[in-house]
Every structure is written in structure tokens, then in C-alpha cells.
Amino acid sequence: MKTSRVPDSIARQPWGVIIPLMLLVMLGAAVLYSAAGGSWTPYAASHLLRFFVFLAMAIVISRFPANFYQKMAYPAYGGVIALLVLVEAIGAIGGGSQRWLNLGFMTLQPSELMKPTIVLVLAAFYQNLPPAMTGSWRGLLPALILVGAPAALVMLQPDLGTALAICFGGAVIMFLAGLPLIWFIGAGAAAVVATPIAFFTLLHDYQRNRVLTFLDPESDPLGTGYHITQSKIAIGSGGFFGKGFGNGSQSHLEYLPEAHTDFVFATMAEEWGILGGIFVLLVYAQVMRWGLNVARQAPDRFSRLLAAGMTATIFFYAAVNLLMVMGLAPVVGIPLPFMSHGGSSMMTVMICVGAIMAVERWSNKSGPLA
């Protein structure tokens, strides 16, 4: 390693995860190429381009020191909250719901930014919280407010998937921060009670239908159950080796809805079969393993929680999307990281990757030397 002529700054990058990620993104590009009917436009080329742009961004992010992250946590959080309110306001004025801001060169979904931001701010919060207070209400209540505010704003949009992602990221950090186990058990019990109530009051009709349809997709094969049914057909008909590149009838003949975004995994599995599916799962496993290892070896509470929280956010994306396309979860609009076509989600997951890389760098610097 030391004898390599590769510059140190490049050699120090976590290639063990970047290379699998690149392969996954390339597979994603291949799928998008096929989904576009054998064309680089409009999906595949921009997918690759975005990945490399955001990879560069992640490397830049990873160069910042830990104290910069800590300093920026609250201002960033406040900024994203402001953006969420702005989106709400624009939506209210425009007479309809809106999730994104048009920045000219891209459309930005503030709710996407909130996913890594909530991890960052909670990590900073627990870093500053005296360890002794972790088990008291002062370790819980501020964190609940920090999670609850953006989650509520996102629910207003309404965007159940992102709200759940925010809550999930927050919950994982609180859990890892060492909050008493009994609280989680209690919250779990409360959730069991509250879910039916929330189901009938908080959710919108279409969301309710999606849940109901998930429970019995064949009840409405042409309505909301159509998505799940067609996705299962695509995955199931792929078999072990798949139908071959460019031969997916479900996606090419437009039976599969959202074949290039939320249901990209089904598009992939139809053409690449179980082999492709296992490869995707292995890459995610590698990312998760890397993220959690980085967290374990991190030097302080902030970086531990940051790395673990970012890993959990990526995990949440991937897991919910895959559970959905395989018919194990209701249809929620969550894209598959590194594969789905879409700028905002790519940016979010690459911020997460960048943050984990930063933590890894901090560990390398301080770990063996300190």
C-alpha cells in the first residue's frame, strides 16, 4: 500500500465501499438505459453524471473537520426547517400542495435534505448532552421536538414516506444514544395503540387505500393494487438469471408503473433475475457493514451517532423500497438509493455517504495517533 504510486489523498478514500457503490450505480444506469428503451437519455446518462457529481461532493464533505459539523448542525437544521415552511407557504399560496423548490438548475425537495440533517442535529444534541442526563427527560424531550417539527411539516405536504424516514432516523439515533430501553418498549406499545387511530385520522384517503391494498393487493388489481401486482410479476417472472438485458416486457410495455424511479428494482430483477437482486442486496450489506464499522470505531459520541444515523437513513431508504416492490410493505413513494432516477434522493444518500466518510477520516486521524 505504502509503495503505491497512487497519491495518498486518493489512496485514503474508502475504496472498499466506493467501488461496490460504483458498480451498483452502473447497474442502475444499465437498468435505466434499458427502461428508456435502450437509450442513454433521459435517465441513464444523467444518473451516472449525478452520481459522480455527488461523489465529488461527498469527498468534499468528508474533508470538513468534526467541529465544523457540530457548529453547523443547528444552523443547518434551522435552515432546512425554514425551507420546509417556505414550501408549505408557496403551496398554500399556489393553491395546492408542493414538495419542491425550483432552483433553476434543479428542483430541490427540502424534505430530502431533512433526512441527513435530523441525524446531524440529533448527534450534535446528544454530543452536548451530559452523559448522566441521557436517561432523563432532558435527553428525550428536546430530541422529540427536533424530530417532531420537521416530521409534522413533511406530513402536511403530504409525504408519509419521508416523514417516516425522518422519524426512523431520529429513533435510531435516540436508541443508539443510549436512551432507556423501556422508553422504546413503551413507545412501541403506544404505537400499536395509536396506529389504528392514526390510520383513520392522519392518513389521507389514497394513503389509506395503499395500506389496505398492500394487505390484499388482489382486491383491487387495476387500481392501487396494480403497482404491487405488476411489480411482483416483474420480479417473479425474472427467475434466476432474468430475461436478459433489454428484454423486460413488464417495464418495456409499460405494465410496471414508475419503472425508472420507485420500481426500478423490479425493472432490474426482471432483466437480471435473482443474480442481480442478490448483487444489489450485497452492495447494500457492504455499505451498512462499512457504516456501522465506521460508527463503532468513531472517536466520540457525535461521530458515532452521526455515522450510525447516516447508515440507518440509507438503510431505511433501501429497505422500505425493497420491501415495497416485493409486496412486503405498502406503496410509499420512496426511491431506491443509487439506482432510482432522481436528483434529490441521490443527493441525500451521497450526503449520508460523505458524512460517514468524514467520520472515517476523523477516526483515522485521531484513532491510532491519539
Binding site: 452523559p131 441521557t134 432507556p180 417473479g236 416486457s249 410495455l253 442478490i278 450489506a285 456501522l292 460508527a295
Partner: protein, 715 residues
Amino acid sequence: MKLGKRTASSAMLQNSFDRRATVVGAIQGGVGILLAGRLTWLAVAQNEKYQLLAESNRVNLSLIPPRRGWILDRNGLPLASNKADFRVDVIPDRLGDEKKTIATLTELLDLDDVKVRDLTDKLDKARGFAPVEVASGLDWDRFAAVSVRLPDLPGVVTQRGFSRFYPTGPCVGHLIGYVGAASREEWEAEGKKPLLITPGFKIGKDGLEKSFDLELRGEPGARRVEVTSSGKIVRDLDTRDDVPGKPVKLTIDGRLQDYASRRIGLESAAVVVIDCKTGGILTLASMPSFDPNSFADGIGRIEWKMLNDDDHIPLLNKAVRGLYPPGSTMKPMASLALQLAGVDPEERVSCPGGYRLGSRFFRCDAVHGSVDMRTAIEKSCNTYYWSMSHRVGYDAIAPIARLLGLGQEYDLPGTNQRYGTIPDAAWKMKKFGQEWSAADSLNASIGQGYVLASPLQLAVMTSRIASGKDLQPTMLFDKLGKPAPDLPFTPEQLQVVHDGMFRVVNGAGTAGRSRIDINGIKMAGKTGTAQVQTMVSRGIHGDWKSRDHALFVCYAPADNPLYAMAVVVEHGTFGARAAAPIAKDVMTYLFDPETALETLHSLESQWGGTAQQRLDRKYAAYSAQYGANGPEVTGTEAVEDDTKNETEERPVESVSVEEPEEKASPSPEPPAPRATPSAAAGNTPAQAGPAPASSPSPAPTASPVPPGVGPAPRP
């Protein structure tokens, strides 16, 4: 406190983090394994199921309507065939914006107001799933214009297929029937077969098309195409050809059928020709008719109005469903019956111009003097038959009438016959609750009174008399061949009748003007005139509807009968005047087609073209007159008249009498059934079997016009 102690130090937190991170990692791993398991389950264990589903998504199987079997005449000429066709249908269920789609189609296909109106009518009545024809017989340009716009026209189906074609159009309308799209009832009756609602598929709706529908149908082909979820066809995968339906070969001679139909001209008439050797029906013509070609896509308003306005009732097959008093055409039959009952044909009866029965006097057409049986046929002398049948009794005649085919129904698929009446005492008692009277016998013996027969029956009767064999009329070529048994008449008895009929045409008989002589081939026949309204008007006077029906039965060659024929001209006045000339030309066509065609062409130039041309012109005139505002078509089965299931003996509606005709009573009092069609104006025709309060006054006051079939009307 307890919790506080536990989480008191940073080291403890580190410890807790490690443990909990392991839990999180384990959960993540668990989810990963769950996903891998689910993936394997879907793609391996259930692979077959989902492959099938994906295939059924991808592949759309569409049926190709089979080509319908041809209907052939005895020489193999098609009476019904198929022609390649570009067609456009709409499926109402899948229509998006109906108005917009129709507007687009109207523009693309250049539909006129009448067609648009008919289309909206059909769509209003449509049942959603069943295709409605917009246009067929399109040229390639218009077909292509619609085809390329299909993605913007949901519910519109273009198809390249075959449609039914009847080369001679109206000439075979009644004989063959017609086809049409299956109705909901028909679709359900066949277990909702998808073929029945395939665009372009037609089933037989009437006549032979209906009777032989299953044979003619064939097996549908199929086309597998790859389609997108929105139904757009990506490419053809493979095609299985249809199996055309089996042809049905008829005994009909297509050219003769065509000739006879056209020769009827402007009359409302039926012509039936039967092969005297086999009983095969050569012609079963009823005119005017409808054009079955234009019925295949449903009946339009204009057409409906045109057919219903016509007092010649083009929707009625008069050859098998028109019932007429046979009149004097019964006399050859009666002659056989009399001989069988022991009457010597040489015995002479004196005709003083009528016959006295008790206190009543039945008038004959003329004073014929002394007549034997042959002369009685030749001159159509009623007196002879009255006196002879009075002697032998009517009960000796009725069975022979039935034996010769009157009042019988024949095994003829697709004809829906009515079998008329050969009355007898039991029948009258059942029908009217009255005793059979001697006057009834007299009436019946000359084919009047309650007697009703269809042109088909008259032709069968003639063929049996001509051949002396019990010929069974047949329309299917394959059924021919079995020799018919002899009838219980001696050759001598038959010869008497043949002589009489020969003299009708070739002697001093009633049809002398219709004789033919083609290389020695001569025709024998018998005229008949059936009264429509008693004495309101006679002969050629009065309006068309109250004129008498003209009948003529004949066979040729006279010495070796090959063909027997019956011609009935509704309201044609006298048999010799209206019916015999048609019979003469049709018979001529059989032996000398060129001469016959010359005659026809000169006649058609007077009439204004062939039947098809006249029908087309009439349609155009109606269309111009009424535009899109014809009355709505009532009922989809427009062609089937309302008497569909009626097999009772009732005169057809065109005949303005409602009941079997009563002969005029000489007395002004109502209803004494009288045998002679003599005077007595003011006699109402509508009495159904009234109390025979026969008038004692014997002699009728002179009738202004000589009635009946006698030679008198000949100018």
C-alpha cells in the same frame, strides 16, 4: 436513579452504543435476509406463475373471425360468399369521449348524416361490450387514416377481414336470409363465447344463414400480438389461420333464381320451381325483397322506412309464408281425386253457366256446354267440379289434396313455412264451431272458400301431378338422390290430367297466350284467380290492394316433365294475364336462356333496371327525401315479421281479407258462403264462418264483370 446510574458515564454509553449498534446491525441483516428470501420465493418458487402472468400481460390474443362457409347453388355458383373488407368498429365500453370520437370518425371516413344518425342509434342501443360497426367496405386510404389515429381513438377497432357478400342481392334475400352481429341474447345463449362479440363476426339471423349457422361458421383464427399496458400493439407474434366454415350446397339454380326474381319485375309475387325428377327446389323467389348485403351491418333508418312503406311487403317471404286461395289451380288435383273416386273422365257434364245446389245457384264463369274432364280443366269449368264433387263428396277430395302436398309442411330448413288450410268438417268445427255444409264442399272443390295454400305447396302439387311420384321438396343438394315412390294413380288417370293441362296452354284453354314451343318442348299448366275482396271490384279495376291474386301452375316439357312451377302474383288480376307470362318466361329460360334474357332485358328497360338497381335508386330517393330523419328502427330483428311463430292458417296481411274468402252470396244479406264468385255487391268479406243463412233466391243478378278464371276476361 437506577437509569441515571446506568448511563452515568461516557464509557458506559460507549458500551451501550456497541451493544445497540450490534442490535441495529442484526436487524438490518435480518431485513436483508428477509429480502433475499422473498426475492428467491418470488423468482424461483413462484417463477412459473409470474411468468404466466407476465406473458398474459404482454400477449394479447385476438380472435380472427372465421370466413363464413359459402352457400352454393346446384352448379357451384355462390349465392352467398365473402369479400375482403376493411372495416371499422367501435366498442362502446372502451369509448372515451363518444361525441368527439364520432366526430373524428365522421371526418375521417366521410360519413353522411344518415350514417351518423344510424351509428348514434346503434350506439344508444348497444350493450357496451359488443362491437358496433361504423363502416365496412372501406378503401385503403380511409382505412389507413383511421388506423394511424387509433392511439387517439380509444374503443375504435380497425380490422381487415371478410364480410358476407350476396352477389345477386335482393334476389336471394328471402331464400338465404342474412347475417348480423350477435345480440346480447344470442351471446348469452351460447355461453358468452368471446367469438360472438369479436368485431366483424356475424351470425345467421334469418333463412338458411340462420338454419345452417353452425356449419357455416367455421373455426376462428387467432392473432397473438404484443401490446403495451395501454393496448397499443407493438408487434405481431404469430397468427393461426381461421378454418373457413363448410359450404352448403343447395338444389337452387342460382341463375334461374336470379332470372325469376328479376322477371317478377314490379309485381309482388312468388315463383317456385321444382325439379320433377328429384323434388329439388330450383327456385324459391319472392319479390320485392330486401338486399341482404345491406342488412349485415344492421338496418338503417332510411332502409327501415323504405321497407315498411312498401305495400308489396318486401320483408315477407311470399313463397313459403304467403297463403292464397289456390282457386282453379286446384282443378288438376280435383280431377285426380274424382278419378280415384270412380268418376269416368269421359263422362260429360252439361254446363249451363252454373250449378244448382238445392235452392241456390252457383255461377260458372261461362256457359261451357257439355264438358268432359279434360275440357273441364282446359276451360276451367266450375260446374263440372261442383257436380262431380257433389257426387263423390268432398271427403274424397281433401285427402288427395293433402296427398299432393297441400296443407303440408315440408322438411325445408330455413324457410319457416306456413302450411295453409285444406278444410274439412272436423277442421271447420274446431275452427268455427259450425257444421260442414254442402256449399263448403263446392267452394273447396274449386280452391276457394277456406282453402289456402302457399306458392311452394302449389309447386309441390304440380310436381307430383306432373311426375306421378310422391316427390319431397328438397333444398339441400346432398339430400337428393332417393327415388320417390309412385303416387296411387294409374298412368291413365294422370294422362287425363296432363292432357287437360296441356290444352290449357296449347289448346283453346285459358293460358293460350303463354304457350311455348322450344324445339318441340311444350308447357302444360293451369291458371287460377283468387278473390281478394268479394265483388268490391273485379279484375283490373279498383285499387291495387283489392284486385284478385293471379296464379299459375305449370310444368314442362309436357310429354316428359322436368320442371314444375307455381307462380303467384299478388293482386295480379287474372292468372292468365299476370302469372302465366312470368311462368312462360321462366320456363323459357330453362330451355332457351338467350331468348328469355332478351325478353327480360326489354322488360327491365321499361321497369327501370334490375331489381338491385331499382332498390338502390329507391334508397337514394328516400335518403334524399328524409335525410337523417327517418323513423327509428324498432327492434333489432326487424326482418322477422310479427307473425313469426304463427303457424295458424290465416291469410297473409297483404291480402286484405282477414278470413278465408267467402264467395259472394247472391243475396245482399251477409255471409252465405257461396261457391260462385258471382255478383252481390255489398257482401262484406269479413265474416268468419257466419251462420249460413243461405238465401233462397237462386239466380244472381248479373255481375258486371265476368268473374273467375274463365276465358272471358281475355280481351
